[in-house]
């Protein structure tokens, strides 16, 4: 299946070829009877993964002291206005104003409090502020696409931004990423550290995208899709999305939260 690849940017294959590969992998997954809720790191339809995934099994480790704690972030690190991506330029950015809010929870359902959430995204035209992104869509001088916030005492986060556009990439010919916002997350212990992407409901590109489809379990994929929430929309102002984030479980027992280190 994984024929030699000249370059991960070669865009040598058609969407039909990539889609056939993805469907074949999904078929054999469905026959395996195993539930896989995290992406495969070995997923050849995502071309640049081919040489960048470990081939040996991850090695089991019991977390030790430093791994049972996460770095602390506070108001020294993050200004409250960094949660609004629409006020960073000299004027209003173009596009569809939106909010996304939700809770960050650990695997036991406990809120992750006062912890850092970082996001980055393309602008409404699907263009990033990055030298590597040279596709012919306009840069928005009023939009950097970068935001940060701290969760509150109940684990809530909230961002105001512009809905990102889908954009082309060079995985294969005529490849387009579904619109998404990148999220970077910390928990209460470092083993919960993760980076992911939040998607929008009903995106017609889901079935075609090898990054999204690298997650085998369809329900797990859906956990990355925000809900449109009309109660979170504001009259003549913005559309609202909600998206709750569940990290892996903390390995530290709750009583340890109060010990001195």
């Amino acid at each position: 299946m994984a024929e030699p690849v000249v370059s991960s940017d070669a865009a040598a294959n058609s969407q039909a070829e990539i889609s056939a590969d993805m469907q074949e992998i999904q078929r054999s997954y469905a026959a395996s009877g195993v539930l896989e809720t995290q992406p495969r790191i070995d997923y050849p339809p995502y071309r640049s993964s081919i040489l960048r995934h470990p081939t040996k099994d991850l090695h089991h480790a019991d977390p030790e002291t430093i791994e049972l704690w996460a770095p602390a972030f506070g108001q020294r690190d993050v200004h409250a206005l960094e949660a609004d991506l629409t006020i960073q330029g000299g004027g209003e950015p173009s596009g569809e104003r939106m909010t996304v809010r939700g809770r960050v929870l650990d695997g036991d359902g406990r809120p992750v409090r006062n912890q850092l959430v970082e996001i980055w995204q393309a602008n409404a035209a699907g263009r990033y502020i990055h030298k590597r992104d040279q596709h012919p869509a306009p840069i928005d001088p009023n939009f950097t696409g970068v935001g940060r916030c701290l969760t509150d005492a109940d684990g809530n986060y909230s961002f105001t931004t512009i809905k990102p556009g889908p954009y082309p990439w060079k995985n294969h010919h005529n490849a387009w990423r579904p619109a998404h916002i990148h999220f970077s997350l910390f928990g209460t212990d470092f083993t919960q550290r993760m980076i992911t992407q939040m998607y929008f409901p009903g995106d017609p590109l889901f079935d075609l995208d090898p990054i999204y489809q690298a997650i085998m379990d369809p329900k797990a994929r859906e956990r990355l899709v925000a809900n449109y929430d009309h109660d979170a929309s504001e009259h003549e102002w913005s559309l609202g999305y909600t998206w709750d984030i569940v990290l892996t479980g903390s390995h530290r027992t709750p009583t340890e939260d109060h010990t001195d280190v």
Binding site: F73, G107, W120, H130, I195
Partner: protein
């Protein structure tokens, strides 16, 4: 199969939630995640400053120029910092966290201190997460200090590995005191990457 997710608001106490999937950091994090001073856990002029550096390689042995690395470690006395200020360094506070994007030839540098052992007799290590375009989920590893052979010999992770693989987790001390730690995502000398007990819930039948 039962419906095991996603309405977190109705979770009963004690019920385990299924974590959301990771996704690749992609190529465009450079304007968002790295920040000035991210690689300097201490200033270079700090009397105990140590350079921790290396290169990230792919399965062909070519450098990976679009990887981001984070470290998290105890201070020289083995204390775990819970001080904020990693993103806006004041030059005095040791927060224990660092972040760096590798350069065009896949190389990274941190300036830090040798971590102390967090418990008596334990091997001292720095924990690291690896992100990259092409890497669909983050990877965890450990960077052990090479000096305390007795502690290394007793370390449960190291002693469960064959010698060739074990070597990938132990930094090399260079003549000037620097620590060298290369990361091989794949292939010859592939770095040992770790999973922790609560990660295994990700793959349960």
């Amino acid at each position: 199969m039962s419906d095991q997710h996603t309405n977190t608001s109705t979770t009963a106490p004690g019920e385990r939630l299924i974590p959301i999937p990771g996704q690749t950091i992609g190529p465009f994090y450079g304007f968002a995640l790295p920040y000035p001073g991210g690689e300097n856990l201490v200033d270079r002029s700090h009397p105990d400053a140590v350079r921790l550096h290396g290169t990230v390689y792919d399965g062909h042995g070519d450098p990976v120029p679009d990887s981001m690395l984070e470290i998290w470690q105890a201070d020289a006395q083995g204390r775990v910092s819970q001080e904020p200020g990693s993103l806006v360094r004041d030059g005095y506070t040791f927060t224990g966290f660092g972040r760096v994007a590798v350069d065009n030839v896949g190389h990274y540098d941190f300036t830090t201190v040798n971590p102390g052992a967090t418990e008596d007799g334990k091997a001292a290590f720095i924990t690291m997460t690896v992100f990259a375009r092409g890497l669909l989920n983050r990877l965890f590893t450990r960077i052990y200090l090479p000096e305390d052979q007795a502690a290394l010999d007793q370390d449960p992770v190291l002693s469960s590995l064959d010698p060739q693989r074990r070597r990938t987790l132990i930094a090399q001390r260079e003549e000037d005191g620097s620590l060298r730690f290369d990361i091989h995502l794949q292939g010859d000398g592939e770095t040992v990457f770790l999973s922790y007990p609560n990660h295994r819930l990700d793959h349960s039948a």
